[in-house]
């Protein structure tokens, strides 16, 4: 008698927190397995590569510091994105919003002439507003004209990139930059303090952690959060209940763009101390933060954990470059695979698959 293995697919009513956690873990694991193939192609044992990455990004003081400084922008952008995604606004533009935040902060640092103690707070406010303005444009275009948010937010990134390029090659090019496309370095009062001699600009880190907690409370406990969730899940019901889609969308993009702008402030005031090329400022934090927010299942508090994971992966890029001589870009393969498996795993949240033995 032959036995056959069949399987049955059933709708799952709601996925419990545990199921979500294990499915997410499974997706990450699958991404690591497939990424392992690439290491194998380069002739490096994947297990050794992962050991090195873990040791390099968490096991040494220097590695840990590098990981944490990357967590900062991922955390700020990621928390903001969870809010936009909750309202069903597909903000792919955190990268551009981050850069515009950096531009605004640099503008204040270089040209405002504000007295020392006021300078950093003013830079944070300007950075928030720069990012928020960049986020509000697609929000207005969506609600007023019905333009697709994915496309407009994405395109706004390129405008930000080339605007920034123009600034540093043109009007803001520093006289002391010796021909490089930089601005001048910021004065001492416009620099963020760092943790001992690492590159962890701790005020921004603390700000990110506070905002993660605050936004978690906003989403789950406040009227605005209630409105955001209603608009995101059923815009028709929102209209029915008299909730304004315009106001809610503007609010989420103010937050989402603003937080990305704060991340930009941290990068220029904490690490580079001047405005420089877009690739040097960001390394794709705004894009990676999309995966961070998605892996956190749109929960601002969970972003603290997922941002850390991606901080490890990004630092892992340095490790494989230095220790193994492999290209840093392998990290993008990781990011892509994680997002791929994460979206693919959504089906496991909606359906239960059970295997049966049939005769």
């Amino acid at each position: 008698m032959k036995m056959r293995v069949g399987f049955k697919v059933e709708r799952r009513p709601v996925a419990s927190g545990r199921v979500v956690f294990f499915v997410s873990l499974l997706a990450i694991f699958a991404a690591f397995v497939v990424a392992g193939i690439f290491f194998q192609i380069y002739g490096v044992s994947p297990i050794r590569a992962y050991q090195l990455i873990l040791r390099g990004s968490l096991g040494s003081r220097f590695g840990l510091a590098e990981t944490v400084r990357r967590v900062i922008p991922l955390l700020l952008c990621g928390v903001g994105l969870t809010i936009a995604f909750r309202a069903n606004f597909w903000n792919i533009g955190a990268e551009g919003q981050l850069l515009m935040g950096a531009v605004a902060a640099a503008g204040v640092a270089l040209f405002s002439g504000l007295p020392g103690p006021l300078l950093l707070p003013a830079m944070f406010i300007a950075g928030f507003m720069g990012g928020a303005a960049w986020g509000l444009i697609p929000a207005i275009l969506k609600v007023m004209l019905g333009l697709n948010d994915v496309i407009t937010t994405l395109m706004m990134n390129y405008i930000a990139i080339y605007f920034l390029e123009w600034l540093i090659h043109g009007p803001w090019k520093g006289p002391t930059a010796r021909g490089f496309a930089y601005t001048d370095t910021f004065q001492q009062a416009a620099r963020l303090p760092t943790f001992y001699n690492t590159r962890i600009h701790w005020p921004t880190l603390i700000l990110g952690l506070i905002l993660a907690v605050v936004m978690y409370v906003v989403v789950t406990r406040t009227r605005s959060g209630f409105e955001i969730r209603v608009v995101g899940d059923n815009p028709d019901a929102a209209r029915f209940a008299g909730i304004s889609q315009l106001k809610t969308t503007l609010l989420v993009m103010l937050i989402s763009g603003g937080f990305a702008g704060l991340a930009g402030v941290g990068e220029v005031a904490g690490i580079h101390l001047r405005l420089l090329g877009p690739n040097n400022i960001s390394m794709g934090y705004g894009y990676t933060a999309i995966i961070v927010a998605w892996l956190a299942r749109r929960n601002p508090l969970a972003v603290i954990v997922t941002a850390l994971l991606f901080g490890v992966i990004m630092t892992g890029g340095d490790v494989i470059k230095v220790s193994l001589g492999l290209p840093f870009q392998l990290i993008n393969v990781f990011n892509g695979l994680i997002l791929f498996f994460l979206i693919g795993s959504e089906i496991l949240l909606r359906y239960r698959i059970s295997f049966l033995l049939r005769r």
Partner: protein
């Protein structure tokens, strides 16, 4: 006719179930070759389902399909096409960025190898178009065409595939009156050429105008099949909405309170920008249920939306308790204690991913005791949910269950609990029992009657004439956005309501 009986199609005992509903419950249908056969019925009567079974989109649990005397298996639309059956859906299946001819040959093997041969196709298309007066430029893109022209492309597409039987699902719902006339002329030419047409509609005028025979469906069953020239609109209206009264509700005699709602010469547009309400006037008293009867699409939804602040009136006045509220926003109407039980409870009434307790405060989350300042008070929200769930007998594991997991009846009870908990002065209820089982229907009706007892003014919009007759104190009939008359329910005659639904004014109403 080569077949002894002359039936092109015979459906026998078709049963099609969907979770929780029997859409087709043992349907028998015979369609003669060369006739236009109307399928008439209200929304949800099972017309479209039946035709999707015939077209191979749905597979029935029971029943047989017989074409020209031969039983056939209809496994897919392709099988239907092989049997020369074509269907034009209510929402066209055209690719808007492709041209007319590309859409027409889509899915066919025209040409050699990987190359398309449009020259041959073009000749055939223009031959068909000339024969039936269906002129469209074959190279125009679909998005450049009007809806009427797009429908012509759909017909051309079917004729290109040499169909003998053409199913049209509510083909006039998107057309202007002129386009409708044109369509009917085309259909008659097609029938003269030997085609058989099944025409789905809920509009009585069209049945009378275009069909040879008509089959009336109600709640998944065939009520009757009639020769069109041996029947009339009032009969059809009655057959369509049913007359037997299933429930006897205990209803106290009407106690007239003060006038709560005064609607004067109200005008509004529908979603397509065409007039939907044309000078509607009526008044409504506390302690009264005013039933609004009418075949769907005659302005009922627009009336409900204008009264609840979801649609702007273009002209006219609405007074609520002597205060003008014309074009107030949805939130303002809600704050004036106007309750709205929406027609599509899943689409508008609930937020599916949110919990029952949150859905219960959808309109009240801004106010004390559910929030203080910016913060929500979950203790009160939970208390409110516990109360509502026991008062309205909402069956769910807990108040944190997401609304999407509830059955239709429980969803409606959540909506009712939310809308009625503040003792509203005006209730606008649209199809409050549509799609509910008998038990839930009874409960919902009892709840509405209790509100009447309390003194609320209720506007009950329903396509179910039984419901209107049992629940209402007075009955208003809407036709084409106008009030055909208002009758006292006690003395109302169902024949007369049928006539009014078909566009005859009530005796004594001024024209």
């Amino acid at each position: 006719m080569d077949n002894s009986e002359g039936y092109a199609i015979e459906l026998r005992g078709i049963v099609k179930r969907f979770p929780g509903v029997i859409a087709n419950n043992g349907i028998d249908l015979k369609v003669r070759r060369g006739e236009i056969h109307c399928l008439l019925g209200e929304n949800g009567a099972g017309k479209t389902t039946l035709m999707r079974v015939l077209y191979g989109l749905y597979h029935p649990e029971e029943g047989e399909i017989i074409l020209n005397g031969q039983p056939v298996q209809m496994n897919s639309p392709r099988a239907a096409l092989n049997h020369h059956i074509g269907m034009i859906h209510q929402h066209f299946r055209l690719v808007s960025t492709l041209s007319v001819e590309e859409n027409i040959v889509l899915g066919l093997d025209e040409g050699t190898g990987p190359f398309m041969n449009f020259r041959k196709a073009r000749a055939k298309i223009s031959a068909i178009a000339n024969e039936y007066g269906l002129s469209v430029d074959p190279q125009t893109k679909i998005w450049q065409l009007t809806v009427g022209q797009q429908q012509r492309v759909e017909i051309l597409k079917a004729l290109y595939r040499e169909v003998d039987i053409l199913i049209m699902d509510e083909p006039t719902s998107v057309l202007t009156p002129q386009e409708v006339d044109q369509l009917f002329t085309t259909l008659r030419t097609l029938v003269d050429d030997g085609l058989t047409i099944i025409f789905i509609t809920h509009k009585l005028d069209e049945v009378m105008q275009v069909s040879n025979r008509v089959t009336v469906l109600r709640k998944g069953k065939v009520v009757s099949t009639l020769l069109t020239n041996e029947t009339d609109k009032p009969t059809l209206a009655r057959l369509m909405v049913g007359r037997e009264v299933v429930f006897r509700l205990e209803k106290s005699p009407k106690e007239l309170k003060e006038k709560l709602l005064d609607v004067n010469d109200l005008h509004a547009l529908n979603d397509r920008g065409l007039p939907a309400l044309r000078g509607v006037s009526f008044d409504l008293f506390g302690g009264e249920i005013l039933g609004v009867a009418g075949v769907s699409g005659n302005g009922q939804y627009e009336l409900a939306e204008v009264l609840t602040g979801l649609r702007k009136a273009t002209k006219g006045k609405v007074l609520l308790a002597k205060k003008e509220v014309t074009n107030c926003s949805a939130r303002e109407m809600n704050n004036l204690n106007v309750a709205h039980i929406p027609a599509e409870r899943i689409r508008m009434g609930i937020v599916p991913a949110m919990s029952i307790r949150e859905n219960l405060i959808l309109k009240k989350y801004r106010y004390s005791p559910f929030s203080h300042g910016e913060f929500l008070n979950y203790k009160e929200i939970e208390e409110n949910a516990r109360r509502a769930m026991s008062d309205y007998q909402i069956a769910a594991p807990s108040c944190e269950t997401p609304a999407k997991l509830l059955s239709g009846g429980n969803v409606q009870k959540v909506v009712l609990a939310r809308e009625l908990s503040e003792n509203p002065c005006l209730i606008v209820a649209v199809h409050p029992t549509y799609g509910l089982d008998i038990g839930a229907t009874e409960q919902v009706r009892q709840i509405l009657l209790a509100q009447r007892e309390r003194g609320a003014a209720t506007l009950l919009i329903s396509e179910d004439l039984e419901e209107i007759m049992t629940m209402s104190d007075r009955i208003l009939v809407l036709f084409n956005g106008e009030v055909m008359g208002i009758l006292e329910a006690e003395s109302a005659d169902i024949e007369e309501i049928g006539l009014m639904m078909a566009g005859t004014r009530h005796k004594g109403e001024k024209l």
